[in-house]
């Protein structure tokens, strides 16, 4: 792996940057691997990286039907935070935040993790009760989250409207200072480069089309658009397409796939210092380092596999944004897009083993899994390597939907992202 640094840039500048080599190879898939990861999103690539890095398993392929990071990883609005309600979730997401804090250095790739603070607004008594419940629970779990009055929130985020004339005035907010954003593409590329350097094959334009099982039902291999691969362990990390991939092994997943849209404005000079989310009036916003306001909201109402949604959804989102930030009303939408998110009944992910021996799944991250990328990859690699879950992901097993031990973040707070 060529080392990245300011010095290296300087050195290569003299050679007209001719000396840079591919950040990851483009290998032909081999006939057998110890582990195959299906899905070259952030979670799949991180899994491969940690398999090789932490568990010494490097005869690994990541198979991606398109281009790596082209799924939700490259479409998301990159909000990172860990101030979830339940102990299980806090442990999961804070594990990730801790890895984020050292990720650029670990990967030698600047993923631009920016801990600029995430604010969640309260607009009514119910919101306040719910946010306070989070704040107290987080504090006792050792995770930062603090209550701001409306004027504190305004001081932290000057463009915020806290006038009483608003339809739903801001009455306060919760702030997680360690929360923030990161550069999504760099996460995929950084993990790909580091995993590749450890020997992992990253195979793009390679869709999995079938899962082969032996007489005892255990996994034996997979069919892909680039040939058959023999392997005893497959980790499926295909987000919105998980139901279709798992159906290849005759497994019906407790998932629904919905379009989730986002949009950016034209770039402007720095005006927005943090991330603001409002679940009551459905919108969230931050400003990218390039200057675009990055904006999103909830999913479309209908299930779909097409990566687009209805116009009324971004309209509602911008209604909310203009209400919260009237100074942005004259800014213009530059680009709108959608991804397909895989939503579980309790809005928490599934990370672990499946009834098919050798088949593992990591899915159900829905509208909010980018923030978990490093942690999810690390825990899934552990699970694949040891054939048993790490204590942190043990509660996030598939059969919780059978016995009822749900981790229902949505029911508790109806918070997305």
């Amino acid at each position: 792996m060529q080392k990245f640094s300011a010095l290296a840039l300087l050195r290569h500048a003299f050679g007209g940057h001719e000396g840079w080599r591919p950040q990851w190879r483009s290998p032909e898939p081999k006939g057998t691997y110890d582990v195959v990861i299906v899905g070259g999103g952030g979670h799949g690539l991180a899994t491969a990286y940690y398999l090789a890095k932490e568990f010494g398993i490097s005869n690994v392929a990541v198979l991606e039907k398109g281009w790596i990071g082209g799924g939700n990883t490259g479409r998301n609005t990159t909000i990172i935070r860990s101030n979830y309600l339940f102990d299980e979730s806090v442990a999961l997401y804070d594990h990730a935040v801790k890895l984020w804090e050292a990720l650029s250095q670990a990967l030698n790739y600047n993923v631009m993790f920016s801990q600029r603070g995430v604010i969640m607004l309260a607009h009514n008594v119910h919101d306040q009760q719910s946010l306070k419940r989070h704040i107290h629970a987080n504090r006792l779990n050792g995770v930062d989250n603090e209550w701001l009055t409306a004027s504190d929130a305004k001081a932290f985020c000057p463009p915020l409207n806290i006038e009483n004339s608003m339809r739903y005035p801001v009455i306060g907010a919760a702030l997680q200072r360690r929360g923030g954003v990161a550069r999504h593409d760099a996460v995929a590329w950084g993990y790909a480069r580091a995993a590749d350097a450890l020997g992992v094959d990253i195979v793009e334009n390679c869709a999995v089309t079938a899962i082969r099982r032996g007489v005892n039902g255990a996994l034996e291999g997979i069919e892909t658009t680039r040939g058959t691969i023999e392997t005893r362990k497959v980790g499926v990390v295909t987000a919105g397409n998980t139901s279709t991939v798992m159906a290849m092994a005759d497994l019906r997943m407790p998932l629904e796939s919905y379009p989730l849209q986002a949009l950016v404005s034209e770039p402007v000079k720095p005006i927005f210092p943090c991330v603001v989310m409002s679940n009551t009036i459905h919108a969230y916003i931050s400003q990218s380092d390039k200057g675009e306001l990055v904006i999103g909201a909830g999913t479309d109402a209908y299930v779909s596999y097409t990566q687009r949604g209805g116009l009324h959804v971004p309209m509602h989102t911008l209604e909310a944004i203009c209400e919260l930030f009237p100074i942005f009303r004259r800014l213009r939408m530059l680009r709108n897009w959608g991804g397909i998110v895989d939503v579980t009944p309790d809005r928490s992910p599934i990370i672990g083993k499946t009834p098919v021996p050798g088949l593992y799944v990591n899915c159900g991250w829905g509208t909010g899994g980018f923030k978990a990328t490093p942690g999810s990859g690390h825990l899934f690699a552990w699970t694949l390597a040891k054939d048993e879950p790490h204590p942190i992901n043990a509660p996030f097993r598939l059969d919780r939907f059978r016995d009822g031990y749900l981790i229902d973040e949505a029911a508790a707070a109806a918070v997305a992202h």
């Binding site: 290296a8 007209g16 719910s130 419940r133 339809r167 720095p270 200057g291 009822g404 949505a410």
Partner: protein
């Protein structure tokens, strides 16, 4: 001050109306009909902006919405708008524009240092550095990067304009009013279709607006255009919209249009909306969106004064502007010859036409040759110079072997380039149409696949005026046939490509310089050069989507209109793959940026979300009520007297209810009428409770679950007749509950014969609660026996209150004797007044939601959504008695059998009282079992529950709380701890019913 580069005659401008405007505090003059760009060019101003990354001086490159460089901020104060394209800003008198992304001034910009150090900043450099030391990212690197990035400044004042929206339906929506679009509109209209025609420009006509010589049907093009427009405007079936961009295609032929209404007016009248969003549902869509000219990629191709050739022709023909005095044309396409010829005719000196091709034989080239223009074939540009405006170019011949020969220098003040044309297939692609690569045009063309969407004219590669018109006619007729039938037999099939329009330059022009040293721009706004694209490929980025993201090519505010094809061409040759195999990036809405306000429309302030108010709202505000938002409703929270605070007002209101009587507006409760022979069976299935034996005239508290077994909603239900139930829901849950019921009725139990009707807003509900409530009601009701014997707790009667038909419920959410009077909402205010009058002598006290909350908490009544969240079962909150044990099934029953739902460790509803009676716990506070010792103070703590409701109870003289605690019912009397930042609070677990556990007061 008059503009030196304006011709004395010609153009579609009004020279008699002079307009004064400013750029960066300098005043200029333009005329009516100008854009800001044409007016600046008329004044000889080319330098108008700085590029994003290297801060290079930039000029005006295009004439329309494809302009990448000339971005300015316009206006001031509450109308300040950044990042507008000067080519699309219509000039108004007094217009104030500012250049962007420069400091201290456009001429002298310190940011230009980036250009000097640009070898350090190749594509994606930021991924490779700024990682050390770790803490510097947040403190130094990121703030610096952010400050350098961005284009214009954001507005700092709230927008003072308004926006509007409307829906429309039509048979044929025609996008683009050039010759093909107008021909399509005429044809569709003639065949009986209802037509909407829109165009992003101020004037309809598209390329016809720059046709000075052509004739159509024997008429001059401009005469044909005005005849056509007059025909269209006289047709009742046609609506045409100028200044209207079709920005997005959505499923089922829904097209979004953004119409700009006032920006072109010097002083828009007060209250007139600035923009209008149209959501058009069209049976058929014809996309006649034309084609975009491609720049050429050569060293330093970005200096002010380097322009697209056809753009220059448009400035000449439409605005009578000479964009330069001595011109070098460089081209890979015949259209540039036309620009050169027309400029020459207007008296502009053409220094040379450099054709990168070996020979140009099209008709325009012949004309240019005939006009004696100096044409150099197989010639390239190796360099340009001039700091704020191009002043010369270095040209060189290219041998058959591709070798670049000796250079020579040509002085000039304008360079025109043309790399061919890219059909504008954006909307077609958004409609999920398929594309096919056409070698001869080096462009992607529409290839079917989008239902009810067809392209016409240049947008499908049919150039040439006559061919485009014929194609428009065919498309319009075919659209009319498909939309309205009518026996029109029109075939709209591919037309052979005209021979003289081949333009196939996507590679950078050859030159003799070190490829590392030159900057040949591909994406002008984002400063992406050919070598950046090659670097991306070298670094292993093989997908065009990766190349786009790594280099940022095509991600600027023009979304790659001028850059995408060139980037693709360079990438394809770097990857050594055929271009179609590299593929295209996805086209995303909007086609050009659309104002947030346009999407948001009138939804601001009060109109952001409908405000729902009850019939007594005005009375309550007149009586000083403080309101709270509950869903969309405004509910009176308390009614302070003089200088009472909430605490004192609520204490007084509670006391009144407990000691005498209070009145409360409960109209916001959701109400659903369930009627039909199978109504009781439906109720049995949707609620946990049994309903079959409930007698008409009686009420029951009902609980319903989600499929996962958790509580969805609750409320009192009255049975009015064997086949009729009056259901109430929580205020916030009303719509969700009705959806839930309809979902099951329509999809699971379609055999059940019953109907659901939302009656929330039909009834005003006046709750009269307290020991004296019956005495008040008796004065207002004469046909209902209200006595305890005749009308026990939990019963309902139909009759009259104050002569108004009413349903009277004897129910209580306060724990006192109480009634809820339901009268038709229109009578609500009058009956409220009658109740107040009747209660006057008993000091009847109006109370709000806060007192209601306190009183229900004293009684241990839960509020769904506050004491429960979506994880709580009926048993958890002590409601398992409500479950019909003998019922075969109900929604959620199956889930209740899951082990987790009977786990002894589940959280259960309990009461909590603090040691210190004055202390009121915080709602949301967490509970732990062990007293935190000093050594234990730090996290994590094992949390066993949380406080769900907490109030000061004036009746009990102490703080009380409800809480969900693990194994709570087994912990009665235990002391638990509520650790707060200031210290831990001790609280004792109690029964959640704090007051009158036997319910004697209810039965009074």
């Amino acid at each position: 001050m008059s503009a030196p580069f304006r011709l004395g005659a010609g153009g579609r401008i009004d020279r008699s109306r002079k307009l004064r405007f400013w750029l960066d505090r300098k005043a200029y003059e333009g005329v009516a009909g100008d854009t800001l760009a044409s007016a600046l060019l008329a004044n000889g101003v080319h330098l108008v902006g700085r590029s994003f990354k290297y801060h290079r001086p930039r000029g005006i490159m295009a004439a329309g919405s494809d302009e990448p460089n000339a971005l300015v901020s316009v206006g001031s104060g509450s109308r300040f708008t950044p990042n507008l394209r000067a080519t699309q800003v219509e000039l108004t008198d007094g217009l104030v524009a500012q250049s962007q992304n420069r400091w201290p001034s456009l001429g002298r910009d310190f940011g230009a240092l980036n250009d000097v150090f640009s070898p350090l900043f190749p594509a994606g450099f930021y991924y490779k550095t700024f990682m050390w030391p770790k803490s510097a990212w947040k403190r130094i690197y990121e703030p610096k990067i952010r400050a350098m990035a961005g284009l214009g400044r954001a507005p700092t004042l709230p927008d003072s304009d308004t926006y509007t929206q409307r829906y429309a339906h039509c048979d044929a929506l025609i996008v683009g009013a050039g010759p093909a679009g107008i021909a399509a509109a005429l044809a569709a209209e003639a065949h009986g279709a209802r037509v909407i025609l829109c165009d992003e420009q101020a004037e309809l006509g598209g390329s016809l607006l720059a046709e000075t010589k052509a004739t159509i049907d024997g008429k001059e093009a401009s005469a044909w255009l005005s005849d056509a427009l007059s025909r269209l405007s006289h047709s009742p079936n046609v609506r045409w919209l100028s200044r209207t961009t079709a920005f997005g295609c959505f499923p089922h032929n829904m097209v979004g249009l953004a119409e700009r209404l006032t920006d072109h007016l010097p002083s828009p009248s007060e209250g007139r909306p600035r923009e209008r969003l149209w959501q058009v549902r069209a049976k058929e869509v014809v996309l006649a969106t034309g084609a975009l000219e491609r720049p050429l990629v050569f060293p330093d191709n970005d200096r002010p004064g380097i322009m697209l050739a056809d753009a220059a022709r448009q400035y000449l023909a439409r605005y009578a502007v000479k964009p330069g005095t001595r011109v070098v044309v460089v081209t890979a396409h015949d259209q540039a010859y036309r620009a050169a010829t027309e400029l020459a005719e207007a008296g502009v000196e053409i220094a040379a036409i450099l054709d990168i091709r070996q020979d140009a034989s099209g008709s325009w080239a012949e004309q240019a040759r005939g006009a004696g223009l100096h044409i150099l074939s197989s010639t390239t540009i190796c360099a340009t110079s001039g700091r704020h405006r191009v002043s010369s170019v270095e040209i060189a011949p290219v041998g058959r072997d591709g070798k670049v020969g000796p250079r020579s220098r040509l002085a000039c003040d304008l360079v025109l380039m043309c790399g061919g044309f890219t059909p504008a297939i954006h909307l077609f692609s958004q409609a999920r149409g398929k594309l096919r690569f056409e070698e001869r045009l080096n462009a992607f063309l529409p290839d079917g696949g989008a239902e009810g969407v067809r392209c016409a004219g240049a947008s499908r590669g049919i150039f040439g005026l006559d061919a485009a018109i014929a194609d428009g006619v065919a498309a319009g007729e075919a659209a009319a046939r498909d939309a309205v039938g009518g026996g029109v037999e029109a075939a709209h099939s591919p037309v052979p490509l005209p021979k003289d329009l081949d333009g196939r330059r996507l590679d950078p022009l050859p030159h003799d310089r070190s490829p590392h040293r030159v900057k040949a721009f591909v994406d002008f706004q984002n400063d992406v050069t050919a070598k950046d694209v090659k670097l991306a490929v070298r670094e292993g980025f093989r997908s065009i989507e990766h190349i786009k993201r790594y280099t940022t090519t095509g991600m600027a505010t023009d979304q790659g209109k001028t850059s995408n094809m060139n980037a693709l061409g360079i990438a394809a040759s770097a990857l050594d793959k055929p271009l179609p195999d590299v593929g295209l990036t996805t086209f995303r809405m909007p086609y050009t940026p659309v104002t947030f306000g346009t999407f948001a429309g009138v939804a601001r302030g009060e109109l952001f979300d409908p405000v729902r108010v009850t019939p007594t709202h005005d009375w309550a505000s007149a009586h000083g009520a403080v309101f709270e938002d509950v869903g969309q409703w405004k509910r009176a929270r308390y009614f302070p007297l003089k200088d009472e605070d909430m605490h004192r007002a609520v204490a007084r209101e509670c006391q009144a209810v407990r000691q005498s009587v209070g009145v409360f507006d409960a109209s916001t409760l959701g109400k659903i009428e369930i009627v039909g022979p199978d109504a009781a069976e439906f109720m049995n299935r949707i609620y946990v409770n049994p309903w079959s034996r409930l007698e008409p005239g009686r009420c029951r508290y009902g609980v319903m679950l989600r499929e996962d077994g958790s509580i969805l909603d609750d409320g009192v239900v009255g049975r009015l007749a064997a086949d009729r139930f009056h259901v109430t829901t929580t205020t916030g849950g009303a719509a969700q509950v009705l959806n839930h019921m309809e979902d099951f009725l329509q999809t699971e139990w379609s055999g059940l014969d019953c109907w659901l009707t939302s009656t929330t807003e039909q009834w005003a509900v006046i709750a009269v609660q307290g020991p004296d409530s019956r005495k008040i009601l008796e004065r207002l009701v004469d046909d209902i026996d209200l006595s305890a014997a005749a009308m026990p707790h939990m019963s309902v009667r139909e009759g009259h209150v104050c002569g108004v038909p009413a349903r009277v419920f004897r129910v209580s959410f306060t724990g006192e004797l109480g009634f809820e009077i339901n009268v038709p909402a229109d009578h609500g205010r009058a009956v409220w007044q009658a109740v107040l009058d009747a209660g006057f002598s008993r000091s009847l006290t109006p109370y709000g939601t806060e007192a209601m909350h306190v009183m229900r908490a004293e009684k241990g009544y839960i509020i769904v959504g506050q004491d429960t969240d979506g994880t709580v079962t009926a048993d958890d909150v002590g409601l398992s008695w409500a479950i019909g044990k003998t019922k075969k099934d109900f929604v959620g029953k199956r889930s209740l059998a899951r082990p987790a739902l009977s786990d002894p460790g589940r959280k259960q509803l309990v009461g909590l009282v603090t040691e210190d009676p004055e202390l009121v716990l915080e709602e949301g506070a967490q509970i732990i079992a062990e007293e935190p010792t000093a050594s234990h103070r730090s996290a994590p703590h094992k949390m066993i529950g949380h406080v769900t409701s907490s109030y000061f109870s004036a009746t009990l003289g102490r703080g009380i709380a409800l809480a969900m605690v693990a194994g709570g019912r087994r912990r009665m009397g235990e002391t638990l701890y509520v650790p707060m930042p200031e210290g831990s609070i001790k609280a004792v677990v109690t029964n959640p019913v704090f007051l009158d556990p036997e319910g004697k007061r209810l039965d009074a």
